[in-house]
């Protein structure tokens, strides 16, 4: 069984690389897709082709039988399982391309397109492709947050801001059961599914204090462990257990509570997954020539270390490519150039400083100053993974005006701060997604989104929480515009190549 599964993955990769010579595109897509309840065994290693090479998924501790496993079985009424939106081929996230392929393969009948959040709004005609445009074109899932926000114990939080709907293109912020005027008031925002892999890094804690909150880290009341604050875009679920319960109730429409045994199975499986790009179409293996790319190092390394302090420098996995290696003579010129570019990109990521301005979570409230000169690793600072060692709620402006690119397909909200003004936006803010503020109820948190995972990027476009960067170049271009960095064309390419290798 284990060999058959690995073989399917290999066929999918080869077929895609060969332009579909041995399998039709639809057959390849079907082999890549994991449907709820199909009963395959999840092997220790899976390789999946993508447009830039191939992704590897490792499952530490041995293969996993998925028959009856709550991560893989449809628990609720809509036929979805966790795996529906956390696909191995998409680095345990979901790419817009996979959503499109699934629509084409099933004429939109796959549980992925469940009305509850796989459509722009449940009130829309579900058979109409346009009703799922945000998922199909941007890879976005609807996330419905209660208003006012609720604390972890369910008690209401009194927010220090008001929220109004300025624009409602999906109809889910002001129609029927959805929106601020509904019997159960809510705010619908649209976000990319976050990858369920490399989680020991996202749950790791490097320090006992959260500099962004000015407080020691909170503890999980169930386990007593310090909470990393790095799981969800808005930090609404602080442990894998809480996330699984929340996801089952909402995305899976599971009307009962997960049992302790089911929770343990889900968390166990998720915690054993590691993924990263393994091969590059031009550059070859990312762990060749002395480099240490790929998921193996992720599986074997200690999480929670600060690259500039007690850990190894971020993306120093590619330092060996700064100079010709022992296999240099065997490389093609294109391979050699790509490796050198990745190595330059890693250094740029660490060393190219620029002025960071008006970004809450960086320029306030910790006292770094506004502006502050630093590089990408100021926030992307954890060795091997590039997430924030501290809880990573930062406002890059991707969802909030005036920094956000135009997003006419998304709702637009007007926030009015009732007490202190926002440290950078003032008293009135226009945002497509208030982010962390929908969890805390604090005006100062509007626009803050937890840092994204940086591994397996090539497998899961588009990028940013709202999918506004269609490709990796779009990510670099956004940063360049936002902070007036002035990257050269070569520097942009180097950073893109670095991210292709992650």
């Amino acid at each position: 069984m284990r060999g058959r599964t690995a073989g399917v993955a290999a066929i999918a990769m080869l077929a895609a690389l060969a332009g579909g010579a041995s399998l039709t595109r639809g057959e390849v897509a079907a082999a890549r897709w994991w449907s709820a309840g199909e009963g395959r065994t999840f092997p220790e290693r899976l390789d999946y082709a993508n447009a830039l090479g191939s992704l590897r998924v490792l499952l530490s501790g041995g293969p996993q039988r998925t028959k009856g496993h709550p991560f893989f079985e449809a628990l609720g009424a809509n036929g979805r399982a966790c795996v529906t939106c956390h696909q191995p081929a998409d680095a345990m996230s979901l790419s817009a391309r996979s959503a499109q392929e699934r629509w084409d393969a099933t004429q939109g009948r796959d549980p992925l397109f469940a009305a509850i959040d796989g459509s722009n709004c449940p009130t829309l005609p579900q058979a109409d492709r346009a009703s799922h445009s945000l998922l199909l074109e941007r890879g976005l899932i609807r996330v419905q947050r209660p208003w006012p926000p609720r604390a972890a114990d369910g008690s209401p939080i009194t927010p220090d801001f008001t929220i109004e709907v300025l624009r409602d293109p999906t109809g889910c912020n002001g129609r029927g059961a959805y929106g601020l005027a509904a019997a159960a008031p809510s705010v619908s925002v649209y976000r990319r599914p976050r990858p369920v892999a490399n989680l020991k890094y996202l749950t790791a804690v490097g320090f006992e204090y959260d500099p962004k909150q000015g407080l020691p880290l909170p503890k999980d009341p169930e386990s007593g462990r310090l909470l990393s604050g790095n799981l969800m875009a808005d930090n609404r679920a602080v442990t894998l257990q809480v996330q699984a319960r929340d996801a089952a109730l909402t995305h899976l429409e599971f009307t009962r509570a997960l049992t302790p045994a089911q929770l343990a199975q889900i968390v166990d499986f998720e915690s054993r997954l590691y993924t990263a790009q393994q091969q590059h179409a031009t550059g070859g293996a990312v762990d060749a020539g002395g480099a240490e790319g790929g998921p193996r190092l992720l599986a074997d390394s200690r999480p929670g270390q600060l690259g500039s302090d007690n850990g190894r420098p971020v993306w120093s996995e590619f330092a060996a490519w700064e100079k010709p290696g022992p296999d240099d003579a065997a490389l093609t010129p294109a391979q050699r150039a790509w490796r050198a570019s990745v190595a330059r990109g890693a250094r740029l990521f660490r060393e190219r400083t620029f002025l960071i301005t008006d970004s809450a979570g960086i320029n306030s409230p910790m006292g770094f100053g506004n502006p502050v000169r630093n590089s990408c690793v100021f926030c992307h600072n954890m060795s091997q993974m590039g997430n924030d060692v501290a809880p990573g709620q930062v406002d890059l402006g991707t969802t909030t005006q005036p920094f956000a690119d135009p997003q006419p397909w998304l709702p637009l909200f007007r926030i009015t701060c009732l007490a202190d003004a926002h440290p950078h936006y003032g008293r009135v803010i226009q945002t497509h997604d208030p982010g962390f503020a929908l969890t805390t109820g604090r005006c100062a948190d509007v626009g803050k989104i937890t840092l994204q995972s940086m591994r397996g990027l090539a497998a899961r476009a588009p990028y940013f929480s709202n999918g506004t960067a269609r490709d990796l170049r779009g990510v670099v271009d956004y940063y360049d515009r936002r902070y007036s960095i002035g990257y050269t064309e070569q520097e942009k390419q180097d950073l893109v190549h670095l991210m292709e290798a992650l």
Partner: protein, 261 residues
């Protein structure tokens, strides 16, 4: 008069990069719109300058644990440093505290203009990772007080200052297992005139500071049953290390009094 002499000395030393006499270390206090000088000596290397309207002298306030926001006024409290390196183009204040005020400023940035700035050096008061074991405090143990110091009218724990001091406190508390811990928050509510403006902290910020530290200690494992949280306004200066000898800054503090069985 003595202050004026110190300022003149500072201005002179800016040119000659010599060492100031000890008498020059008298604290200054003024409100200004900050100016950012965009030097590039690596991460966190930008310079912050602020001009005292009373003298027209420009000071380098970069050594403050908290830096300015170029959109807002700052309250500057500091002493002219005994060593002047002229790295940023202003008389260096060190020790110095910068507090961001609500008043707006027109953001302004200067080019480096040949000033080198300073490479960032991790401050000595920085919290170490959890992976580094804390050294248990040596005995004999006694009742002991710890102090945190705050920005003007704020209760936010200053990064790489208050978190370090809190870490010192909890390391001691974990070792000695006290019978009682008293947290007292203070606020400088008695009005003072600074740069021609009458300023005073909010009375409630004393409570906010005390409650923030109380919550911090609870999160760090202090039993609620041994914790008392109280607050006082009209704070007097106190000789606390956290304020580095700056009397006005020392009014804005929290005391953590650890009492042994």
């Amino acid at each position: 008069m003595r202050r004026l002499r110190a300022l003149r000395a500072g201005a002179t030393l800016l040119a000659c990069s010599a060492v100031l006499p000890a008498a020059a270390a008298e604290p200054l206090r003024f409100i200004a719109c900050p100016v950012y000088r965009d030097v590039d000596a690596g991460r966190k290397s930008g310079c912050w300058l602020a001009e005292d309207a009373a003298t027209g002298l420009r000071y380098d306030v970069s050594p403050s644990p908290t830096k300015p926001d170029w959109n807002h006024e700052v309250l500057v409290e500091g002493s002219v440093a005994t060593a002047q390196d002229n790295a940023c183009g202003g008389v260096v204040l060190d020790p110095v505290r910068v507090s961001i005020l609500p008043g707006s400023c027109t953001r302004h940035s200067l080019p480096a203009e040949g000033f080198p700035g300073r490479r960032f050096v991790l401050p000595p008061r920085n919290v170490r990772p959890l992976s580094e074991a804390r050294k248990p405090p040596a005995g004999p143990w006694t009742d002991r007080s710890f102090h945190l110091q705050f920005e003007w009218d704020r209760s936010f724990a200053v990064y790489q200052l208050d978190d370090y001091l809190l870490d010192q406190a909890i390391t001691y508390i974990r070792a000695v297992k006290p019978r009682e811990i008293v947290v007292t928050g203070y606020a400088a509510t008695v009005p003072a005139v600074v740069s021609g403006r009458r300023i005073a902290e909010r009375t409630q910020v004393a409570r906010e500071r005390a409650e923030m530290v109380g919550e911090s200690l609870l999160r760090l494992g202090v039993p609620k049953s041994i914790l008392t949280v109280q607050w006082r306004d009209a704070a007097e200066p106190a000789p606390i290390d956290a304020a580095d000898g700056l009397a006005e800054a020392s009014r804005r503090r929290v005391d953590i009094d650890v009492k042994l069985p």
